[in-house]
Every structure is written in C-alpha cells, then in structure tokens.
Symmetry: C2
Subunit: 159 residues, 2 copies
C-alpha cells in the first residue's frame, strides 16, 4: 500500500520517516556524514583544508617520518591518491619529503613547524565546531556513538 504523496514544497525528515530507507544503517550513516561534513567545512573555512588533507596532516604530525604508502594504508586510499594530498601539504609548507637512509624508494614525510602550528589550530577549530554542532548529544551519547562507529570500522570491508 503506497504512502501518501509528499508535498512538493515542504520536505522535512519527519515527512519521510516511514520510508524503508529510515531503517537502513547505510542510509543513515550517509545522511549523517553529509551533516557532519558541512560542519567540518565551516570549521576549516578560510584555511581551505579539505577533510582528507586534514586527515593526512593529522596522521603525519602524529607519526612523523611516516612513508606515503603507510599513510595511504591507514587512510584506506590508494597510494596514487595520496600524491596530490602530499603535494598540497608540501605546497602549503606544512611538510618536507625527506630521503630515508637504507631504502631509497621511500620518502619520509616530516611536518614543518608551520605544519605543526597549522594542525594545532585546525584541530582546535574542528573540536570546537564538533562540540557546538553536536551539543545536543550528551557526553555519554557521543561516546556511545563513537564506540558503535568504531565497531563498524573494525568490520571487514565487503569486497
């Protein structure tokens, strides 16, 4: 039995809460991700740092001297895709590619002082923004959410 047609002009979430989609974890993850992304982009604002560049910067600052192939594996993307990200961080003066003694194939990624500072500032902005955006979730609810998302992250990708 079809549900009543949705009005053309008003399309809130509540109007579609009977949809099959509403019970799918994948759909809800995607929609929530879109909301979170809008917050991230606002937090980065003038810096123009994209999520993936921020992620790479974070990991490089946390694990200095990391190789690009390691970074790509941690981020879950291909080596080839990381090149542009590292190029951007280098162009911003946030890292240096340095040779690794003992294996001339590898180039270690080393954060500069500017990179470290930019990261500290960006992290603060993102954390402040998330605190504001998700203020209506209690600390306990946030921890529950993080825990459940981590459980999903640890699942095997379905190839």
């Amino acid at each position: 039995m079809p549900k009543p047609a949705v009005k053309d002009t008003i399309t809130t979430v509540s109007e579609t809460e009977n949809s099959d989609l509403e019970n799918l974890i994948g759909y809800n993850l995607k929609r929530a991700d879109v909301i979170a992304k809008s917050g991230f982009q606002q937090a980065m604002g003038d810096t123009g740092l994209s999520a993936r560049v921020f992620t790479a910067l974070s990991l490089m600052v946390t694990y200095p001297n990391i190789a690009q192939s390691s970074l790509s594996r941690i981020m879950g993307i291909e080596r080839s895709g990381l090149v542009a990200i590292v190029d951007e961080l280098e162009a911003r003066g946030y890292l240096k590619r340095a040779p690794v003694p003992g294996d001339r194939r590898v180039q270690a990624l080393i954060p500069t002082q500017a990179g470290q500072q930019a990261y500290d500032q960006a992290l603060t902005r993102v954390q402040t923004q998330e605190a504001r955006q998700f203020a209506e979730l209690s600390a306990e609810e946030k921890q529950t959410l993080l825990g459940l998302l981590k459980r999903i992250r640890q699942m095997e990708p379905m190839t």
Copy 2:
C-alpha cells in the same frame, strides 16, 4: 610529544587508536560510511544499482507521483543532479515521467511494475546484507545507532 612511528607494513586500526582523529565524530562517521558502502555495493552486485539510484527508486516507489524537485529536496541534492538518476531509472524501465494536470512544468515520477519488483528485490538484498554485515551489533545497539544518526540528521547543516 610525537607518538611512535607506524610500521610501514602493518597498519591496523588499533595501531592508530591514539590519533586525535579517533575522537572526532566526523572522521568516524566517514570511515564507517566507507565500510557500509562496501557492503551495499556487494549486495547490489549484478544489478549495478548505486546508492543514490536505489535511494531515488525507494522514495519514488514509496511516494508515487512525486515530482523531481521534491525528490531532490528529500535526498538533499540539487535538482540538476537528479536528472541523471531519473534518466537511469527510466532507461532501466523502472519509472515513467508523466505529465501532471494543472501544472505543465511538473512531471510526476511513476514506478512501473518492473520498478516495483526491482525495488522489492533490491530492498531485500540490502536488508539481508546489513543483517549479515552488522550481525555483531545487537538489535538494541543497532536501534541506538539509528537513533543517534537520526538525531544528527535532524541538526541544521552548517552553511
């Protein structure tokens, strides 16, 4: 104080669990979304239905005679982006564009019998796949997760 460098060859999640990223809701949402998407794609397999086409099909079947502009608002994408989606559903024979008496600008989207059947089958596949993929979450945990994700979905996008 920098954390110890990650080994090049082994890059499990546990090795990076000290990263700042691990406490960000946005980062965890994104990574969980990637896992869920891999499951969705496997479920769709031979049908080749993408997530957004499945979503549009679902909403059109649930709300027959919906206009494209309504659908685009519900999905949270631009009208222009929906054209290719509707084109694909029409090419598959899953819908008809029908004129609407009283407003000749609008074309109602009407699911065909093939569209209804394809959707029923696709939905079953997705539900079965999610049940399998997320089996290690209890029914209560899944409900908690869905509830928290819906809370986020209802938040204002940060423009």
